[in-house]
Amino acid sequence: MGADPVAEMTGDRPVGVAIVDDHPVVVEGVRAWLATEPRLTVLSTGDDPDAVLRAAPDADVVLLDLRLHGRMVLDKLAELSATGRRVVVYSEHTDPETMLAALDAGAVAFLAKHEGREHCVATVLAAASDRPYVPPALAGAIVGDPRPDRPMLSDKEREALLLWFQSMSKASVARRMRISEHTVKQYVDRARIKYTRAGRPAATKAALLARAIEDGLVRPEEIGIYRSQATHDRPTP
């Protein structure tokens, strides 16, 4: 991995972001958050995903409010993800079912609207390089996934997700698990990568997975690429 994984992806130009939200005040707020990070630039904003992307066809990352004009746009999310758009969903709907449904539909990441600037910037930067970022709310949804066909997580991955969800501090999780922060992040990210195998296939999921394998985060056989999903992705007991 290079010194700056994002620069590695986009060359020297900053990451282009498109923001889709039907509340102008939220758009302005997010824009202000992203403006604090020189590696990010907002290319286009608006309340209609198609119009926003027509205005900025080269956007690297789309920040999508999951609820537009009173309707959940999971179908639009799936459509964009299928065409390879890196969509970071951000929403005030933080019930676990919605978050997992967004991942299944191909969202690169899910961000709760209250999770704040640092998580938002980190999520968008990670998404631009097809790398996972799991904010605490999403960690909670994954660790509590009750679906019988959920991906199989190791005990360490579950524990790291749980503690990250509880404490929102990787340093504290690291102290508690007596491992390095880097290892905490690896456990959390590996759990997230396993979710690229859940739900319908999407170009974004394939990209996340490919990058994770390239980075050495997971080995192909760990997530059942060469074998049937049924034999591998059994839930942890």
Partner: protein
């Protein structure tokens, strides 16, 4: 400023304050009860009603069968015993059916009926033997007791099953009788009598059998409908109460947020003032909780934790309570061990707090994270891990945060 917000909030909250104390209040605690018990009640009530109706019909059927056998059958058999072709067989058959009938009746009333088909086989064997042993003269007489009595014992044997079983037995009974009648000649008068007898033996037992089944079915349906109505009513009451509570909270929370925003807009409050910032954080946390939390699935553990969070919030602490999954039903002792250590620490928390609950069918993990303070640990538990029965407690301070966790595993 903080006193102002806390005090004004408390004043507004006063009417509902008692409902938010950390101890489970009878008024609030009763909310989950109707919904929690509704499914059980909805299943149990119709079954109980159906059972009661069925029991009445069983007693009636057993009484009819045995009374008929003894009061009508026995005198006729005894009176004509010299005229049978084989008196011993007719009497022995009567006795055998009497014994089998008593056993079957008692078992039926106790809810443990005899296996139907062996009993039916025995009855049909007696049927054939008695028809053969009665002789031509007694064929249509009352002394040939199997004609009239046996149908009622068929009813006992087939109780609780489909009517086709009973009809099959009665048909076999009619065929045995037909063989016996034809065996004694082809007198048209006998055939007419036979037809009449068959009609008599079919109609009453089938009517009683079908009637009782129908009544039990209707009773069960009516009871189920009533139970469903009750469950819906209880659910509606709970939902309405939940809605009222949320509306009250919205008024309360909205007022506090509105005051800060109003002061900011009017320029009376300075956004750089840490106290104003703290009030904003608190108002935002309250609004967030209002949006995120609901009592849609009332659970006693979550209810207790919410009450504790409400109390901390009213004392001016911005708090997030995030729950993932529904806790399984837990004994009160386990719930106490999960919640109490955390609510104690929460009462002492300053700055902010994050309370999380992750539940699965076999595990519930509750965690409280608050900023670590320099203050000596007067009220905190000893750091480290220890087990309190099936619940594991963990408490630690790492300079950044205080982290308390309770974990129950099945």
């Amino acid at each position: 400023m903080s006193a102002d917000l806390g005090a004004s909030t408390d004043r507004t909250a006063a009417p509902g304050a008692s409902a938010r104390a950390p101890e489970p209040q009878p008024g609030r605690a009763s909310v989950p009860a109707p919904r929690g018990s509704a499914p059980t009640a909805a299943l149990a009530a119709p079954a109980a009603v159906a059972h009661a109706s069925d029991r009445g019909a069983r007693i009636a059927s057993v009484a009819i069968a045995l009374a008929w056998h003894v009061a009508i059958g026995l005198p006729a058999v005894l009176g004509a015993r010299a005229e049978f072709a084989a008196p011993a067989v007719v009497l022995g058959g009567w006795l055998l059916v009497a014994v089998a009938g008593v056993v079957a009746g008692v078992r039926l009333l106790r809810g443990a009926p005899l296996p139907p088909w062996p009993l039916a086989g025995l009855l049909l064997a007696v049927d054939a033997a008695v028809f053969a042993a009665a002789g031509e003269r007694q064929l249509f007489a009352a002394a040939n007791w199997v004609w009239s009595t046996l149908g009622w014992f068929f009813v006992l044997a087939m109780w609780g099953r489909r009517v086709t079983g009973l009809v099959a037995l009665l048909t076999t009974h009619a065929l045995i009788a037909l063989v016996a009648v034809l065996g004694h000649g082809h007198d048209p008068a006998d055939l007419a009598r036979y037809a009449m007898y068959v009609y008599g033996t079919f109609s009453l037992p089938v009517a009683v059998f079908v009637g009782s089944t129908t009544i039990v079915g209707l009773a069960r349906e009516r009871a189920a409908a009533a139970a469903t109505m009750h469950a819906i009513a209880a659910e509606r009451d709970a939902a309405e109460q939940g809605l009222r509570e949320r509306r009250d909270r919205l008024v309360l929370v909205g007022a506090a947020a509105g005051r800060v925003l109003g002061e900011l807009a009017a320029g009376r409050a300075d956004p750089d003032d840490p106290e104003v910032q703290r009030r904003c954080v608190l108002a935002a946390a309250r609004l967030r909780r209002l949006i995120a939390e609901s009592d849609d699935v009332p659970d006693p553990l979550l209810h207790e934790l919410r009450a504790a969070a409400d109390l901390a919030e009213r004392n001016g602490l911005p708090i997030d309570l995030v729950t993932i999954g529904d806790p399984p039903p837990l004994p009160v002792e386990i719930r106490r061990r999960l919640a109490d250590p955390l609510t104690g620490i929460l009462a002492d928390a300053r700055g902010w707090a994050r309370l999380t609950v992750v539940s699965g069918p076999d595990e519930v993990v509750v965690s409280l994270v608050t900023p670590d303070r320099e203050a000596p640990e007067a009220t905190g538990p000893p750091p480290g891990e220890h087990d309190d029965g099936p619940v594991q407690h963990l408490y630690e301070r790492d300079g950044d945060i205080r982290w308390a966790q309770t974990r129950w595993r099945r």
